[in-house]
Each structure stands twice: as structure tokens, then as C-alpha cells.
Symmetry: C7
Subunit: 93 residues, 7 copies
Amino acid sequence: MAPITRLVLDVLKPHDPSVVPFVSQLGDLEEIDAVTATVIEVDENVKTLRVTIEGGNLEVDAIRAEIGDLSASVHSIDQVACGSRTVDDPWLG
Amino acid sequence: MAPITRLVLDVLKPHDPSVVPFVSQLGDLEEIDAVTATVIEVDENVKTLRVTIEGGNLEVDAIRAEIGDLSASVHSIDQVACGSRTVDDPWLG
Amino acid sequence: MAPITRLVLDVLKPHDPSVVPFVSQLGDLEEIDAVTATVIEVDENVKTLRVTIEGGNLEVDAIRAEIGDLSASVHSIDQVACGSRTVDDPWLG
Amino acid sequence: MAPITRLVLDVLKPHDPSVVPFVSQLGDLEEIDAVTATVIEVDENVKTLRVTIEGGNLEVDAIRAEIGDLSASVHSIDQVACGSRTVDDPWLG
Amino acid sequence: MAPITRLVLDVLKPHDPSVVPFVSQLGDLEEIDAVTATVIEVDENVKTLRVTIEGGNLEVDAIRAEIGDLSASVHSIDQVACGSRTVDDPWLG
Amino acid sequence: MAPITRLVLDVLKPHDPSVVPFVSQLGDLEEIDAVTATVIEVDENVKTLRVTIEGGNLEVDAIRAEIGDLSASVHSIDQVACGSRTVDDPWLG
Amino acid sequence: MAPITRLVLDVLKPHDPSVVPFVSQLGDLEEIDAVTATVIEVDENVKTLRVTIEGGNLEVDAIRAEIGDLSASVHSIDQVACGSRTVDDPWLG
């Protein structure tokens, strides 16, 4: 299996914990080099985040479990990249 | 035949396997340097992915077979590039 | 916990103090390398600012407290990034 | 005559041969450094491709003949460039 | 207080003095490295300018006073940046 | 007179000669480094091209004469640049 | 007075002289490094040009006089920059 180098996840998160400890704790997982979470929508009980994760060999199960431990859930996956380099989607620029 | 260096494919995929093992297994094929899959649409039974693949000498039959082995199918081809370097389409920027 | 390297905050601020001392004082906090505040909306009593903060290890509680000391409040968080490098959200470009 | 360095062609192609062997065979012509074909429209019997070709000294007659041999035809020419370097159209960016 | 490195001001200016001496005189203030004024709107008696000012340690009171001396006034502040480097707002690109 | 370094011309051209020999022959003029012609509109008898020409010291009369010799005509001039370097229009990016 | 490094002018010009000698002669003024004129509108008797001028120390009176000598007139000023470097307007990109 080729190592996963980028994941963009749509995450549903209750308001607690806040986005900052959520990102910081996620970024603490092994193999993660960088996490950027953009808040897309705020509802009464949940926030929708688009979470971009990059690393040398991302383990999606560990990431999903960690997101679950943080009381959040992966609603959907927006983008996945693997390989010895990361190629951009020509339609996203 | 000039070596194919980039393929952008529209892929229909059942929800199982998930996008991550799908990309990782595809990226494991010989001659593939990088795969980026963007989820374009989610329906009841299938996902539509735009899959950008780059490599030194891509073999489309092997890629198509691998996609089939992963229970998915190539719905259409959006872009193909070949040559000693990869040129961008001036209208896509 | 992975160090936070970028925060984008939606801040509600009364007209006094003005944006300039607000930014300058915020930028004086330890661990902050750069602050850029863009004025998004001006109402009768408050301004809405989008405040981008970058640093090596941002402490959100200290930032929130400082913003409170400056008579303003964090209305919401727009983006949070952590890690050994900062990755951009592919949908924001 | 100054050497042609870029051609962007609107090509009508029957569904067979597929885009991949079409691009690969086109890229095999002498003087062609790179070919990128983007699928613009798919109809019942034909595909419309925008084909960007770059090289040191492109021969349009050989390219047109090769496209004909591949059962396709040049519907129109979108862009042509020549010279010791390739300049971009300031309105296309 | 962290040094201010960029100010973007909305300035109302009578037609006299003209934009050129206005910018040139403003740029003469100590600590200012560069001024760029874009004319946003022209009315009967006033022009609205968006004035971008960069420097190592901008003094907003001196800038405001100088703008007043030039018969103009700061209508609002659009952006303020401080720090050892200048970070761009991710939503403005 | 400062040397002209870029010309963007709106050219009306009958369908014959085709765009490729038109560009190639134009690019053969002395002092021309690069020509890029984008087809903007196709009518029954003529094509409208936007022709971007760069060089060290472009001679517009020679270019206009050559375009006339090629049975085409300069309908209008879209952009002209001169100087020791070429500056871009800030509104075109 | 800080030296002016960029001027963007809205110029009304009769059809004669043509844009090319207009730009070339303007670019001949002392202290001008580069001129780029984009044609914005063409009316029966006049053309509207957006003229971007860069140099080390632009003299607007000499430029205005030269434009007058060329039978044209400065209708308005769109942008003015001064300083030891040229900063771009963050809203224009």
C-alpha cells in the first residue's frame, strides 16, 4: 500500500472541545506533519470543519479513532493523496 | 508510443472500499509517482471521484484493471498528458 | 499537544481601542510572530475583524485573555493550523 | 518561417480509439515534447478535446495527418505560439 | 507594543491636493518604506482612496496627522499588520 | 522613442491562410522574439485573433505591413508596452 | 517628497496619434523605466487607455505635459505608489 501523504476530511464536531485543542491533539499523532482546520459551518450543536492533514505516511484508522476520542466524527472524505510527491488536482488549481 | 505522464479520471466507486485504501492501493501500482483523489459527488450507493495520477510511464490498462479489482470503474477520462515534460492547459491556468 | 502555528479568529471589538493599538498589543504576546487584522464589518458599536495570527507555539488562552483585556471578544474561530510546517487548505487556494 | 512552439487544438474524436492511445501516439511524433488533452464535451458518437501541444518546431501538417490517421479531426485551432520563448496571452493570465 | 508593519486605510481626500503629491508627501514620513494609493471612488468634492502603507515601525498618529495636514481624513482602517514578518489573510489570498 | 517590447493586437483574418502559417510568418519578422495568437471568435468569413507579440524593439509598421501581406488587418490595439523592462497592468494581474 | 515609483493613469486620447507612438514617446521621458497601456474603451473620437508607468522617480507634471503634447489628457489617476520598494494593494492581489 502506497503511503498516504494528504487527507482532507469533513469533520462534525460538538462545540466542546474547542477547535484549538482538537487540532493540537490531532497534530500530535505520529506521522502527522501538519494539520489545518477551516470552520465551514456553525450549527446549534455542532461545527463542520474541513481538516487538511499532511504527513509522510498517514494512518487513517488512527486518525479516525483520535477524532472519535475527541467526540467528533468524520462525516466524509474530500480528498486523499498518496505517493512519493503530492500532485494537485488541475481543476482546483 | 510516448509515455503517459498524467491521467485525470472520473471514477465511480461503491462506498466500500473507502477512498483511502482505494487511493493507497492504486498508488502501489508500478510507475505511479502520485495519486490525488477529490470526491466530487456522493450518492446513495456510489461516490464520484476525480483521480489525478502522475508517473513516468502510466499504463492505463493496468490502472483500469486495478480500479476494477477495487470494485470501482472509470466513468470517463478528463485529461491525459504525455511527453518528456508535462504542459498545463492554458485555459485551466 | 502539537504546537499551534496559525489561528484565524473572528473578533468583535468596540470602536475603542482602535484597531492599530489592538493589533500592536496583541502582537506583543510571547510566541506571536505576526498578526494581520482585516476589518470585515463596521456596525454602530462594534467592528468585526478577521485576525490572522502566526507563531511558533501560539497559546490560545493567553490570546483570548489578551483580546478580552482589550475589551474585545473572540466571536468564532475560522481556521487553526498546527505542525512542523503550515499547510494551506486546498479549497481556499 | 519561425518555429511553432505551442498549438492548442479543438479536436473531434470518435470514442474509439480512446483518449489515452490517441495522446500517446500523437506524442510520439517527432519534435513534440509534450501533449495534454482535456476532454471538454462528450456526445453520443464523439468527444471534443482541447489538445495542448508543445515542442521545439511543431509541424502542423504532420500533426493534422496523425490526428486523421487516429480517426479524429481538427475542428478548430484555439491558440498558436512561435518564437525563441513562449509568451502567455495577458488576458488568459 | 509590537511594531506595525502594514496599514491599509480608507482615506477621504478633497480633489486638491492631487493624489500624487498626497502620496509623495505621505511617503516622506519617517519609518515608511512604501505607499500605494488606489482610487476607489470619485465624487463631486472628494476622492476615496485605499492607501496601503508598509514600513518597519509605522506610527499611526503621525500618519493620521500628516493625512490631516494634507486636508484629507482617515475614514476607516481596512487592515493592520504587525510582527517580525507580515502574514497574508488566507481569505484574501 | 522608447523601444516597444509588447504589442497585443486584435486581428481580423480571412480563413486562408490558416492561423499556423500566419503566426509562423509573423514570428519571422526581425526583432520579434515570440508571438502567441488566441482565436477569440470565428465567423463565416473571418477569424478574430488576439495576437500577443514580444521583442526587444518591435516595429509596428513592419508588423502591420506583414499582417496586411498575410491578407489580414489590425482591427484594434489592445495593449502596448515599452521600456527597459515590461510592467504588467495591476488590474489584469 | 518621496520619489513616485508607479502611476496608473486613465488617459483620453484622440485616435491620432495611434497608441504605439503615444506609448513609445511617453516611455522616452527621463526617469521612466516602463510603460504599459491597455485600451479600455473605444469611442468615435477618443480611446480610453489605462496607462501603467514605473520608474525610479516619476515626475507627474512632465508626464502630464508630455501627454498633453501628444494631444491626449489625463482623465483621472487610478493608482500612485512611492517608496524604496513598491507594495501591491492586498485587495487587487
